[in-house]
Symmetry: C2
Subunit: 112 residues, 2 copies
DNA sequence: GTGCTTAAGTGCTGTTTCGGAACTTAGTGG
DNA sequence: CCACTAAGTTCCGAAACAGCACTTAAGCAC
């Protein structure tokens, strides 16, 4: 089965994963909850490549989870903020955080 | 940044995603919560390729989320059950399910 | 005892996605 | 004129994935 076919699966977990079930998307959302909103901030925080970041931001906007806003007309600059739909992922974020804190302790320090 | 470097990230969400942040792993876990436990059951339910399924099961066992048990010696047959660590993902599963039910309605039927 | 079936994988091949780095565009400041 | 910033885009090689066939070991049917 192709990943793209999952968005109409009978299972709501599968449908959710059709939006967030990849390696980077939830990390962008985490950064949004931490207050970040700009392309360069996401790129610096998560360490993902700019190519993938641009793609994921586009998908999240299409999914209605983030909204793209202009914060400067000249030059054209945009930032990304959580919609209400996105805000409602907060409980999911917290359960994932709690599970990680309990079951996946840090073994060694990393830069960021 | 490579995906594999995420397991020691400072952020517990990132560490959690180092285990589950791919396209299929959480779907296997969903099936476990639904009571499935065998290779062929997972393969049939999720529609993922057998190759990837075998890899993900191995990783989940290494991560301590699933336990591989023999249920038949001749022929050798195994099933996979949630450990306590895995059971504790239930709240995360439910928040993802609830978000999907609320924000991602089904548009057309699919054959599972 | 040859052939059919089941469970749990492995191997092979071609396609898709990803990682890393450089490049682009439009405007700002010196 | 030259460097710099933000938000991307382009290019290429590497890694992951999809689809299908094949394997192994036992059970059953004839």
């Amino acid at each position: 089965m192709k990943w793209s076919e999952l968005s109409d699966n009978w299972c709501p977990v599968a449908r959710t994963l059709s939006v967030f079930g990849d390696r980077w998307t939830l990390l962008i959302l985490r950064d949004c909850f931490l207050g970040l909103s700009r392309f360069e901030q996401f790129a610096g925080s998560s360490g993902m490549t700019r190519h993938i970041l641009a793609d994921r931001l586009k998908r999240l906007v299409e999914a209605g989870v983030l909204a793209k806003q202009s914060y400067s007309d000249a030059p054209k600059r945009y930032d990304y903020v959580l919609t209400e739909k996105g805000q409602e992922l907060a409980p999911a974020m917290m359960t994932l955080r709690d599970w990680g804190k309990k079951h996946l302790p840090v073994r060694r320090a990393t830069a960021n």
